[in-house]
């Protein structure tokens, strides 16, 4: 399968990328690792007229200790997130979840920023960074702004990014020794989650987000509220679908997804609480 024809331009920096995308209008798309966009283009579900290749903007590939949080460049590949010693120490949930994206070949190319900007509710990293209370830094023609992960996801494959804005950095609060768990339920190793759960807990504080349980990644705030008010893990897990609005597909009915979400939230919190 071959994508529809497009023009291809290459950016050497974030500023150049933003200027190029502005120049080419809303029909242009950023190309990072290409592991979300190219499959859509091959199926002709996306037909951008221009691709602005940001894959060579090397100064946006980094993982840095920034005091209370870890700063991750948007073009950092899944493989580098997975194997980062800084993340293993300060945000192990994210490193672990990155190791569940696709397969090794996909993780050699795909980037954390690409995955988040694509805003697929079935992807692992949007929900994981949501659970961790991440902040996304985006750059546009007028400068940079910060968007909390909980305000970022607007609909299916839709985010708060304007057409001429580019995600440049992901800021993940340090987990400070919190317990955590990533539960991914699928039928074959490399598949997307039928339902997934990213969760952490430190005493009465917790963060829980659901993969593939609605049009966006879902922050299960009711679960965290129940934990905060002293509910047991089993009781808190019963609130798993309070914010969710799953749909049915050939893998699962709505009822089955809701059942899975409750079971997986319980398992995740049991791990995170141990």
């Amino acid at each position: 399968m071959i994508p529809a024809a497009f023009d291809y331009v290459r950016a050497g920096s974030a500023a150049e990328a933003i200027s190029l995308i502005g120049e080419h209008g809303s029909d242009a798309k950023f190309l990072a690792g290409g592991h979300s966009l190219l499959p859509l283009m091959k199926l002709r579900l996306a037909q951008p007229s221009v691709l602005v290749d940001i894959g060579r903007v090397k100064d946006l590939s980094y993982i840095k200790d920034a005091g209370d949080h870890i700063a991750i460049g948007a073009l950092t590949r899944h493989m580098d997130v997975e194997t980062s010693k800084v993340l293993a120490q300060h945000a192990p949930l994210l490193a672990h979840a990155a190791g569940h994206v696709g397969d090794p070949q996909v993780r050699h190319r795909g980037t954390i920023g690409g995955s988040i900007a694509h805003a697929d509710p079935a992807s692992d990293l949007p929900a994981t960074t949501l659970a961790l209370g991440a902040t996304y830094v985006v750059q546009g023609p007028k400068g940079t702004r910060e968007i909390a992960a909980r305000d970022f996801y607007k609909g299916f494959l839709e985010s708060a990014l304007a057409a001429d804005e580019m995600l440049t950095e992901i800021r993940v609060p340090k987990m400070n020794g919190a317990g955590w768990s990533f539960q991914k339920f699928n039928r074959r190793a490399q598949d997307w989650a039928i339902v997934g759960v990213a969760a952490w807990r430190r005493g009465s504080e917790s963060g829980v987000a659901l993969v593939n349980m609605g049009q966006t990644p879902v922050l299960a705030s009711s679960v965290s509220a129940a934990i905060a008010s002293g509910a047991s893990v089993a009781d808190a897990a019963q609130k798993a679908v309070a914010e969710a609005s799953p749909t049915a597909d050939n893998n699962a009915s709505v009822e089955y997804r809701e059942h899975l979400a409750k079971v997986l939230v319980r398992r995740a919190l049991e791990h995170a609480s141990a």
């Binding site: 024809a5 023009d7 291809y8 091959k42």
Partner: protein, 152 residues
């Protein structure tokens, strides 16, 4: 657009359409048809090759993205004298193939895996090859071959 790549140690310069997939480029422009197209949706791994030493799925990468890089395909694994790469030898000795369609991709993924983890357990190999499907379901001997190549 003009791209320059080194493929199996040989430098190439070609003018390609931006939408040309890397797998199309190596098969159709360079005539290196050892890299197979299986699912064409980045699931099966038949099209795996190395870009700058790491396995990637060449059906999900544009040739223009590979501009300036060094690529190794299955044709570049054997020595110049025709001697097989240790991984190829291990696949042969352990009967790590049946129909052979997934084999080039398996060999490329397996060598990339051993580069990152030279001393894998059986589980590491099975998980490390999650991106490669064998529709003959010959996984048992494929895993055996990779472990044999790792000296286990």
């Amino acid at each position: 657009m003009e791209i320059r790549v080194t493929v199996n140690g040989v430098e190439h310069k070609h003018d390609v359409e931006p939408r040309t997939l890397l797998v199309q480029y190596v098969r159709e422009h360079l005539g290196l048809t050892g890299t197979n197209i299986g699912c064409d949706t980045s699931s099966c791994g038949a099209c795996s090759l190395h870009v700058d030493g790491e396995a990637v799925k060449s059906c999900t990468m544009l040739a223009v993205q590979a501009d300036g890089s060094s690529i190794t395909t299955i044709e570049g694994m054997a020595g110049k004298d025709g001697s097989l790469h240790p991984m190829q030898k291990a696949f042969m000795e352990n009967h790590g193939l049946q129909c052979g369609y997934c084999t080039p991709g398996m060999v490329m993924a397996a060598t990339s895996l051993l580069k990152e983890n030279p001393n894998p357990s059986e589980d590491d190999v099975r998980i490390g090859l999650e991106g490669n499907l064998c529709r003959c379901t010959g996984y048992h001997n494929i895993v055996k071959a990779v472990l044999a190549c790792a000296g286990k």
